[in-house]
Symmetry: C2
Subunit: 478 residues, 2 copies
Amino acid sequence: MDAAVDAARELRQLPKAKIAEFLEVYADKIDAAKDALVDAAFAETGLARSPRLADVELPRTSNQLRAAAAACRSGNWAMATIDTKSGIRSCYEALGPIVVFGPNNFPFAFGSVSGGDFAAAIAAGNPVIGKANSSHPETTRLFADLALQSIEQTGLPASTVQLIYRTSHADGERLVSDPRVGATGYTGSRSAGLKLKAAADAAGKPIYLELSSVNPVVMTPAALQQRGEEITNDFVTSVLMGAGQFCTNPGMVLLIADESSEKFVAAVKTRFESTASGTLLSPAVSKGLSGSVKTLCDFGAELLTGGGEPESRRCAYANTLLRVDGKTFLGNPEGFQTEAFGNASLMVVASDLDELTEVISQLEGNLTGGVYSAADESDEAVYEKIAFELIPKVGRVLNDKMPTGVAVSPAMNHGGPYPATGHPGFTAVGVPASLVRFGKLTSYDNVRESRLPALLQDASPTAETWRNINGTWTQGDV
Amino acid sequence: MDAAVDAARELRQLPKAKIAEFLEVYADKIDAAKDALVDAAFAETGLARSPRLADVELPRTSNQLRAAAAACRSGNWAMATIDTKSGIRSCYEALGPIVVFGPNNFPFAFGSVSGGDFAAAIAAGNPVIGKANSSHPETTRLFADLALQSIEQTGLPASTVQLIYRTSHADGERLVSDPRVGATGYTGSRSAGLKLKAAADAAGKPIYLELSSVNPVVMTPAALQQRGEEITNDFVTSVLMGAGQFCTNPGMVLLIADESSEKFVAAVKTRFESTASGTLLSPAVSKGLSGSVKTLCDFGAELLTGGGEPESRRCAYANTLLRVDGKTFLGNPEGFQTEAFGNASLMVVASDLDELTEVISQLEGNLTGGVYSAADESDEAVYEKIAFELIPKVGRVLNDKMPTGVAVSPAMNHGGPYPATGHPGFTAVGVPASLVRFGKLTSYDNVRESRLPALLQDASPTAETWRNINGTWTQGDV
């Protein structure tokens, strides 16, 4: 932590271009080391080399670092605001050492020293202390090596990136609440995350958590009548992708009881049965999945296919489809929102639209929520009722699209109301918005121009820099 | 709370212009009721009618409501971001019922149903449940009456503004952690605020706190040599203004031991002794002030003037100046940062620049921090060392200016690192930034255009609206 504090002091004195350069060099090294990284991650996680590790997650990771570098260089994350009349200028600045806990399911793109939180924290000008996820230690070590090489090559302080392994819960709590820490980014299980949150909250330290989400998807009868086959295909592809181990996996489908819904459920069941189950990340994941499925069945969900114990020959679990009616759901809404992380989904079949909206009103905060409705907008009134209830519950609302893709877009919100995350106003994906989490807002009041940070001086620091000057967004000078 | 939830649902369906109109009508009614409001506030708080309640705080309050109305109408607080390539669009939206706890020291501008948090929460589209500060119940009631009249006149839901009195600690904790709440804004004492924070944090509910701040001001020897008299005047005016009951009152002055510093301390002492002590807000404030002064003296501060018990004939306390040397301060930095809320200040005299920066490095988070240095920049190296340590500790850094004025500027940060506030990234003053605290970030992914909120549709909703479209800030359409 002392080393991180030293790095934070040095980083504050470096030109932003220097930090951006580090991120870019690191991104290049990641691309160059693709084979080794993919081999290590495949061996440790069982995630497919293709289409996944080599051709999706790795390029996403290096491009995310480059996007963060661009935001760092331009300062476009920092919301520079200049009020010449009052003589006050403000922007976000580096906050201090950032602790990053990466999850098990994205060894590259959300990795402790390679992923979105890492990129955002560094681009905001902070050093990072990464806690390696214990499910892919070697992959993380390879990244740390590349980061260290990039640090040496670009002349950043050596302790800009640090990596630690296997902390106890107590040490984790000490870490996130240490007075020297700026903030923490955490992606992982709800139980461990809430312990860290309690410790950080008590110390007044920001902690950004991505905890859990069942990502409800509503399918209206009209949508299923018009294009049931297409929707079945969309859904099955999405829910079984990566063995269902996505934060935005559609773990709950909301339907209204009718013939088209029954047909959809039956078609999904058939597809689940005819598709080989994917390899899970670890025995802990298959055990957790088995436990969650059992919990849902104990609450009264009907097992349509799958279930039972983890496969004994490999790290896997049968594709599992569960069903519950709306009335039963409403008798235990919290219980039926138990996340079954992996290749499983729960169909909630409401008796009518009113019961469906009642079910939605009982949902916890989620990362995403989707609605498939009639292409010809013949059920627009139905959509409106659904969306009105759904939108306050989710960070991202989708139409006619599955939630598993999380584009690195400035308009992306990979966030959502508690308990999906710890705060409804922040996104973990998307540049520049994700950087703000690791910034401190600072106003400069009557501060002499030569003493201002470059971003707030009269002359704009780069041609790409956007600043709000007297209420007008501009790329120009004061 | 149920009524607030109903209002929140109705507000989501209203055009933003309707909500803006309410804020503007309310602002006009406040201006029109000026005499009654000033009379009530003067009777309840003892704050001066002029220059203060009538000519400063009241116009600030109505103008703050009008600025919030403009932000509500244009949507310029909501950070509309449109990415046409990925088909994703995002903005901040209403979050849900907001609870506002107003402080004792600004009966208008920070009032539960009239002040900055109220204006921001309403302008972001949320209903407010205000908790009246018990030190000015009638003033708050008058505001609630005007708000209700404005609601009736503009046709907003009646429960858009609710006001409650005298909650127990337990009820306050239930309120801020209720599942139906969107967020809470609190300005007040640290002890009560931290209890509310613990309850809100445990429930995953955002809470924005403004807790306490000693607002350190550094005066370099060169500044005091060059313009000691002017600085003395600035400081004495600022520290005794409103009997020192400002959140940004300069409660701590940091000096380097030399002749000019000694002259400054002596001059301030003389002025404190020759100026009548102001009327304090309540017996509780004078009791608290007396207790804090005693605490500082017990820790080893020297009482230069003032101190003792509260005045017995009226609600007041002698102007109080304390002094401690840097070494003693560093022996108990937490203790010497005890806030003495009122007309008191502590001079910390360091032996040299190194000790001074060591003192600064031990400061807690503060709303503001100031530096007076040589006008001719002859001590620029000294300034740099001071500012480098000071900036991470404060939300607003000032040059050659006292912190007590808090302009309603888009570049204002009335915030700062914990424990000054609960989060280093948010400001309680300044439009549009203060509204974001009460918003929920929502992405619309592949959502059909007619279903998007007006702010995210292709056509810009107003000529004043700024949106980021494909990386470019523009007032135009997609």
